[in-house]
């Protein structure tokens, strides 16, 4: 398959390792990874903060970059960006776009997937040849869980990883408190939510807390780093991309 990779602005700029692992994983599975160079940002932050006029060019750019029919599917290592493309782009296009934008948005929406959806639903794989000999707990991010309904797909992928010690996270479905600009506008409430998430992560004694979204991981990882917790965060793609020949080396960095 020719798979269009959307790095997301956060992944491209601040968390490139998760995107690299996504690309490597897809190449390893035998697919062509296409990276349209004009891609930038899906506009999620704008829409979620209340701005729908400003991201119109971003929505248009996304549809143009990935609309080409030679791209069979579009994947992104982010549940919330996939949610933005699938649920919010049409709201923006309906309100401030023209007929061609609405058509472009509909085309690209139909072939957009978050990583675990692409692997399990489209490519039909759960075992991806990964090897990760560490204790791991999985936090299902809200947008993956409740907007995209990825269900247990990420867990099925993790269970198939060789040598992994996967432990259940108590109160896993509770929000970590990130919420984009919520973490800045309502920093106190966001921190109170983060504390409870970190307490639950602590009880698992996992070396790694993983999730399908670098943004939530930036928030959780930032909190774990501040309290000098023994647990670090790692994107799901990085665990799936780790193999016996090129294993992921755990370090203490917040990233």
């Amino acid at each position: 398959m020719r798979i269009g990779l959307f790095a997301t602005c956060l992944g491209d700029t601040l968390f490139p390792e998760a995107v690299k692992s996504t690309a490597v994983l897809l190449a390893r599975l035998g697919h062509d990874v296409v990276f349209p160079p004009g891609q930038t940002c899906c506009g999620q932050m704008h829409v979620n903060t209340g701005y729908q006029r400003e991201p119109v060019p971003l929505v248009r750019n996304f549809a143009e970059q990935f609309g080409d029919s030679s791209i069979d599917a579009v994947v992104m290592p982010s549940g919330s960006c996939a949610g933005s493309v699938r649920h919010q782009h049409e709201i923006v296009a309906e309100r401030y776009g023209d007929a061609s934008l609405r058509a472009g948005v509909a085309t690209v929406k139909a072939k957009t997937y978050e990583l675990s959806e692409l692997l399990v639903d489209v490519l039909g794989v759960t075992g991806v040849g990964a090897y990760f000999p560490h204790r791991v707990t999985y936090h299902p991010t809200c947008h993956s869980l409740r907007m995209l309904r990825v269900g247990d797909k990420p867990l099925r992928l993790l269970r198939a990883v060789e040598a992994i010690d996967l432990v259940e996270l108590p109160q896993a479905d509770a929000c970590c408190g990130f919420g984009g600009t919520f973490a800045v506008k309502n920093a106190g409430t966001s921190t109170a939510m983060l504390q409870d998430k970190m307490r639950n992560i602590g009880t698992t004694r996992a070396a790694v807390c993983t999730a399908g979204d670098s943004s939530c991981l930036m928030h959780i990882g930032g909190g774990l780093s501040r309290i000098r917790s023994g647990t670090r965060t790692l994107h799901l793609a990085q665990i799936l991309g780790s193999t016996r020949t090129t294993p992921h080396a755990l370090t203490e960095a917040v990233r």
């Binding site: 704008h46 829409v47 209340g50 971003l58 919520f182 939510m193 990882g221």
Partner: protein
């Protein structure tokens, strides 16, 4: 010749400065203080997690729960689409059965109507069934200003009233109080209470019961709200747990019911859906202990003088908003409050409105507006959410609260003028729509490495990001963006090697179903 008749005027919101639909400060500030209250956090955490578990058990046991939710949503949506005709039908039926219907444009009018009706009976006391509508319009405060004493008869509402407090939850108004606090309130406020009263729940309830029993037997006027009003028959319904409602609805001579106009349902049979959805979603019970239904006046049985006050107070304005009108489908079950991670930590008072939590964050701005004044506290409510979506999953009538929050945020930014945030958003979009500019900005961001400490970690950021860095470290930007790695020889070689290597078989034949 054409005559320009003008645009239809936008229906009025609840008037500024009236009732209880606006706090005196914005959510983040109010939340900041509430978060510091450890007792509140513990009381709320315990109460909401208990009720969450109960709700999941009783909703999970019904095989047709999802169909019930769909039915509830469909009936309410149909109701809103033909609200005017249904309200007229309700008025006609109530009148036919001997009741009197009054229309109140806003809370001020409703308060005046109720006060006038009470005065006409000659009573200076009134017993009350817990009601969100009368809380919303500040009826108690209005009656007290006229020398009429309202007695709340729901246990939790009584606690709140005796403590001169405000409800913090739409179903469990005293959820922020624990039994030690309640004991103290009773000792301080109930005349003649046993000075040795302890904090055993049954003893506390008995003390309230003794106090209230006397009020039930001697007060001749009652004020109630309504959970449902049936257009087809003129039947009103109140759903409750303690039996105090049944007392108020049957013992007095005069009954005055204040009902928001969105509470109407088309058919009697619709109760079949809602009497399953409501108790299971609200208290986590299969059925609530008391469901009272009454239709007008029945000679020789119950109140002989019945008045229904239909309250607008911004509801028509909400109805005029094609997206906002969904908030009117709410049946006030409070499930969304109980699952909300924000509500669970800040409590209800931080929202400043009779309606807190997720539904409050959308309904309050709908009813009272969010830009009625400069720096309107209500404008902060749509942002009081991480958009986690737990409310949408819990709602028995499937109100898409997260989407409504995003919509209200948009309405707010459209209404408010230039702001630093708006400029920043425009600037960000301007960069991101030009890939070349964006790539240059990424390179500039990589220079941000210099602000990182020796371990590549940023521990302090300037305002407005200081709230973020107060409790979180931030990784300094990496040397290389993904796109420059991909374009590099290293990136190309890595991908080529991965393609050649392919997927290695697991050494211990790992498969999913082992």
């Amino acid at each position: 010749m054409n005559t320009f008749l003008g645009m239809p005027a936008t229906p009025p919101r609840s008037p500024y400065g009236t009732g209880n639909l606006r706090g005196d400060r914005k959510f983040p500030k109010a939340a900041h203080d509430e978060l510091a209250n450890g007792q509140l956090r513990r009381n709320l955490g315990r109460a909401t997690s208990t009720i969450r578990t109960k709700r999941l058990v009783v909703t999970g046991e019904l095989p047709d729960w999802e169909q019930l939710r769909d039915a509830g949503s469909a009936v309410k949506t149909d109701t809103m689409n033909r609200l005017p005709e249904l309200l007229e039908q309700l008025e006609q039926k109530v009148t036919e059965r001997g009741g009197t219907v009054h229309w109140a444009r806003d809370g001020v009018e409703a308060n005046e109507i109720v006060a006038r009706l009470i005065r006409a009976t000659g009573s200076s006391d009134v017993i009350k069934v817990k009601s969100m509508a009368t809380q919303e319009i500040g009826l108690n405060e209005h009656l007290e200003s006229l020398g009429i004493t309202p007695y709340e008869t729901d246990l939790a509402e009584l606690i709140v009233q005796l403590a001169d407090d405000k409800p913090s939850h739409i179903l469990v108004p005293a959820i922020h109080r624990n039994r030690d606090e309640i004991r103290q309130i009773f000792l301080d406020e109930i005349p003649g209470v046993d000075p040795d009263l302890d904090n055993v729940p049954a003893h506390l309830a008995a003390a309230a019961r003794a106090y209230l029993r006397e009020k039930f037997m001697t007060t001749r006027v009652a004020v109630s709200g309504a959970n449902f009003g049936i257009a087809e028959t003129g039947t009103l319904s109140v759903v409750e747990s303690e039996g105090n409602g049944r007392m108020c609805l049957t013992l007095p001579d005069t009954l005055i019911t204040v009902m928001g106009i969105e509470k109407v349902l088309p058919r009697y049979q619709d109760l079949e859906v809602f009497l399953q959805l409501l108790p299971r979603s609200s208290t986590g019970e299969r059925m609530n202990p008391y469901t009272s239904l009454w239709t007008g006046v029945t000679p020789g049985d119950g109140p002989q003088d019945f008045h229904l006050v239909l309250l607008d107070n911004g509801r028509t304005a909400a109805l005029a908003d094609p997206i906002g009108r969904e908030a009117l489908n709410c049946i006030r079950c409070s499930a969304c409050l109980n699952v909300c991670p924000v509500y669970e930590r800040t409590g209800g008072h931080a929202y400043g409105s009779t309606y807190p939590g997720p539904i409050g964050a959308v309904l309050t701005p709908q009813l009272a507006g969010m830009d009625a004044a400069k720096d309107d506290p209500n404008s902060s409510l749509p942002y009081a959410s991480s958009l986690c979506g737990a409310c949408f999953d819990a709602c028995p009538v499937k109100i898409d609260i997260p989407s409504m929050l995003v919509e209200l945020r948009h309405q707010h930014t459209e209404q408010s003028g230039a702001s630093a945030e708006k400029l920043a958003m425009k600037a960000a979009a301007a960069v991101m729509k030009r890939p070349k500019l964006y790539t240059a900005a990424q390179k500039a961001a990589a220079l941000g490495r210099v602000v990182g400490g020796r371990d590549g970690t940023i521990t302090h950021l300037p305002a407005p990001f200081d709230g973020w860095s107060d409790s979180r470290d931030t990784a300094a930007p990496p040397k290389q963006s993904f796109r420059s790695w991909l374009a590099s020889a290293e990136g190309a070689a890595t991908l080529r090697a991965a393609a050649e290597e392919g997927v290695l078989p697991a050494t211990d034949a790992h498969t999913e179903d082992q």
